[in-house]
Amino acid sequence: MRRFLIFCATHPWQALLSLFAISLLAGTQLNQLKIQISAEELLLLDDPERSYYEKISKQFGDEQVVLVYLEDTRLLEEEKLINLKEVISKLEQLSFVKRVESLFSVPHLKSIDGYLNKDSYLFSLPKSKEQEQQLFTAATADPFIKNVLLSPNHEVMAVAIILDDDDASYNDQSVTTEIDQLIQPLNIDYTQAFVIGYPYVRSAISNRIQQEQKELFPIATAALLIALFLLLRQFVDILTPILTSGISILWTLGLMGFSDIPLNVITSIVPILLIIVGSTEDIHLLSEFRRAQKRGIETQAAIRHMSNKMARTVLLTFVTTYVGFLSVGLSRIEVLWQFGIIASTGLLFNYLVTVTLIPSLLALSGRWQLDGKNRFLKSSSTEAAKLYWQWLYRRRRSVSVVLIFFSVVAAFGIPSIQVNHNTIESLGQNSEVRKQVEAVNTHLAGLETFSIILDSGIQDTFLKVRYLEEIVEIQYFIEDQKLSHSTTSFANYLSKLNGVFQEMDQAVMPESDDEINELMIFLDHKHVQAYVSDDYSRVRILVRHHATSSQELEHFVNELNGFIDQYLDPGLEARITGSSVLTLSATQSMIGGQLQSILLLLVFFILIISVLFTDIRVGLLAAIPNAFPVIVIFGVMGYAEVPLNIGTAMAAAIAIGIAVDDTLHFMLRYNQELKSSRRQTLAMHTTISNEALPVFSTSIALIAGFLVFTLSDFKPIVLFGALSALAIATALIADFVITPLAISSLRLVTLWDMLSAHLRQQVIPQSVLFRDMSRWQIRRFILSSTVMKLDIGQTIFKPGDKSNEMYLIMHGSVEVRVPSKEGDNHSLVVNLFRAGELFGDIALLAGEPRKTYAVSLEPTSILVLSQDALKNTTFLHPIIAGRLFLNLATDVSKRWVGFIEQLSKEKNTD
């Protein structure tokens, strides 16, 4: 990656041309991009329950219905009905309309002279108020009318338009436009007249998405620009993140167009997300470049410095964020799967664009800088970092107690979180569609339905009174519990027919199987095919409900399942299915999946950090600052009664994915600083100082960007934005408080530091220290030590230094000299140490101050073996420690033997 960055810096025009060519290609796919909202995309993929629902829908039919809602105190006035009839006849002529159901079409079953009459309720229009009242009474006694096409208070009437599923020529827009046009005249006759149904809800959402893209996109860009301007004050640095985000958005939208993935409620946030998230790596890269530039390094060298320092870090942070977004795509819900794939691929694009565009742009324009005069954080920040760290370290116990207290308080709020998703509520308070849905839910049984399927597997089961009574019992239970205002079934139809044949003014349940057989003579199966299979072995109870929230529906379904489990005949199998029930299970699965994603992400992060720093403890400690924002978010949600829904669950997963970036930057920087600084405190000062600007800048930019989502009209997106901003703010605190405290006691050594080919092939076999030790034992020990890189002539220690360290040369050579009274030039060379050899052991083992000088003779890497590391090894790995001490003793003895032999030789010479 480092080489790629340098290549782009040295060949900027080629790199920019490549970006332009790909962007052009992506641009050609934009016209393929669709905006599409469908109920199916919120369902689980490969769900057996969904397959069952599809099977049931095929058998009993599941039609798309649009309701014409008419409200008036005189619904049945002749003139109004004449106009309505005319509108209905026009609606019936629309190509996408399968049929229209209303009081003009639903048969009013009557017995006339002993024969069944099926003329509709409005076959002849009422001429007087008395006739109107009679019609109302008859219609509201019909379970297929009451709360479905007529409200019990006789003030709301509905006309159900059943859409033709087979007609692919229409879309939500054409449906809503054509129907709205036709019902215009009804607005004059009725107090309130509107059309509502899922095409309308989807259409409203789709329009809102387009609207919000227009509104939020510039605001998000502006928020980012303002944040960057306040923090960086560099024209190129402000422009670059916007450019990288813009290009990656273009590529992502092109990919969506190419792969037929539509823009929907969830995927529509990807572009804005890319603007916000995509800018973070740019800021880190640019900060490093500017830092080098500030030190007077010329542009190309500064780019090389940036590449050396940041290439690996940026790759790692991209991987963690990528995994964070990709984890959302592990969901079995189509819309989340699409989001995960698109958002993660968008990030990949952003990463590629960033590593291509930034070195290219900097190579061309990097010299245009303001010399850092207006930087928010200036060079004096090192001093501030030092003071801050001193303060923090001194008060680490108090700070820890405060943080633990907050975490515990937040954790107590977590159990109060309610899982709840409400599609209609998510449309926003002022949504006209929401108000219309609420009107339908208030006056009629509601827009939502589900089915209770009873199945015996035996032909003619439901032509027996005993089993029909099972249906009725379930319906009574639903009615008693006031769970729904309308349930309809085969039993209802049969009772209605029986009532008519008995010439009763009410539906009467048949009392005997023979009676049912007689009734069946006069019943055409096509009239009841929505409720009973043609072999009468399976029935459906259609439940209309207005439970718009998943919590309410879950309660409903649980109550129902409880009743069914307890009372249903064991010969019958009952299953509850329907789009609303599937959406409920999908919502629960979605939320569960997101929580799983958070856990997976934390585990992944722990693993990656553990592998990267070759120590599981580092991974676990690094998880603390990232677990903290999650606990805080969920705690706030619990206390503030913010429900766990698609938006809020996703917020935590994505926020973690982003927040770990800063932790990684911090730790990798600390690791780099440790290599050039033997003192951990000094390394920490520099780390805090160097990371303050980019981490603070990216966090502020992210917070500003996420807060833009709070301007959305969709509640889940508002909550997503607010909680993500909170998560980033908390992560910022965690990164500057928890992360330094957590890692300050550790000697961070990365995998590539330790497992370089040089170390494996030369140092380990040569070193006396590791004689007769396995590779694993050697690695365990090395991981607890520090690697230092030395330039030529760099002094490692000098006489009088107090130290508890000894050193193993991994690469290069070190000369140890005894000081001379005549000066350094006359000092006596005691020994020359090469790769694999140990030196400086006296201070560690004897506890004496240094008596000699140790100076590197060439660029050298040394492994620092501290007393603490040896103590830790003795405590944690006694076998390794025993072998080490034996090897150390052997080496010291050999050196003593050598020293004595040399003395003897010198004495003999003298």
Partner: protein, 284 residues
């Protein structure tokens, strides 16, 4: 004079011719007048009969129904035109095939065809008519033998005779139409009245006690509706019979119309079920 005499003769001859013609035409006119007074259904073709269509229950003059006649085979019948072939299929045990609903429809076809057969078996004009003048739509129950029950000996001096007729109708009696009855109850005067069909409907409870048969009208009680009254000589005894089609009303009652032929041999007498009516087509 001659002139006047020949004119008179001519007039006389013409009068004689006319009077002869009139005398010759009189029986025809009388017959026509008599036929004019007959109920229209008797004279009209079977097409004017009405049935409840299977599956829809609507009032139709004929209906088409496809029913299983063997384990695998099906046949479509247009009732009443295909009643003969339907009866033949029934005689070959066709009604045992198919599902519950189809078997029920077979029973309906059987009853409908039986109704048609009552009307068409003896197409000659009967010589005696003591039935058509009676208002069956507002009949007293006691007049029309409907209170008789093969199983209820108290109401019948010669139960065996009635039972034979009931069996010919495929019934045990009509007590299933009035499931509530008690001889012990003593209803108050204001609640009871003569048991009578009102405009084709009877719904009420029948009380038997020592003072006779009384009814308590109750629109929710079981009963029946007269859906058709036709006239024909069902047994070829030259007496015109009335054929009533009744549909039972009330919870637990079956819906297929009951065919009740009634006759009487003298004016003002009690209606009874005609003797020797053809039995239903035996079905397996």
């Amino acid at each position: 004079m001659i002139g006047s005499s020949s004119q008179h003769h001519l007039k006389h001859r013409m009068m004689r011719i006319i009077s002869h013609q009139l005398l010759f035409a009189c029986p025809w006119l009388l017959t026509m007048c008599l036929l004019w007074t007959y109920p229209s259904t008797l004279l009209s073709a079977p097409g004017s009969l009405f049935f409840s269509a299977p599956y829809s229950g609507e009032k139709v003059e004929h209906y088409e129904v496809t029913l299983p006649v063997t384990r695998e085979g099906q046949q479509t019948f247009v009732i009443p035109a295909d009643c003969q072939s339907a009866d033949e299929a029934l005689a070959h045990g066709a009604s045992r095939w198919g599902n519950r609903v189809e078997r029920s429809i077979w029973r309906k076809v059987q009853m409908d065809c039986r109704y048609v057969s009552f009307l068409l078996t003896f197409p000659h004009q009967p010589l005696h008519d003591y039935v058509s003048g009676y208002d069956f739509m507002n009949a007293e129950l006691q007049d029309i033998s409907i209170l008789l029950d093969c199983t209820d000996a108290r109401m019948n001096d010669n139960p065996n005779q009635h039972c034979r007729e009931f069996h010919a109708l495929g019934l045990e009696g009509f007590s299933f139409l009035f499931p509530w009855k008690s001889g012990d109850a003593s209803p108050s005067e204001e609640n009871t009245q003569t048991c009578r069909i009102n405009n084709g409907i009877f719904r009420g409870r029948i009380i038997y006690n020592r003072s006779g048969t009384h009814c308590i009208q109750d629109p929710k009680a079981p009963g029946f509706r007269v859906i058709a009254i036709d006239y024909a000589d069902v047994n070829g005894d030259t007496f015109l019979d009335a054929i009533l089609r009744l549909v039972p009303l009330g919870i637990g009652l079956r819906r297929v119309p009951i065919v009740l032929p009634l006759t009487r041999k003298e004016p003002g007498g009690i209606f009874t079920i005609p003797h020797n009516i053809p039995g239903p087509v035996p079905s397996h």
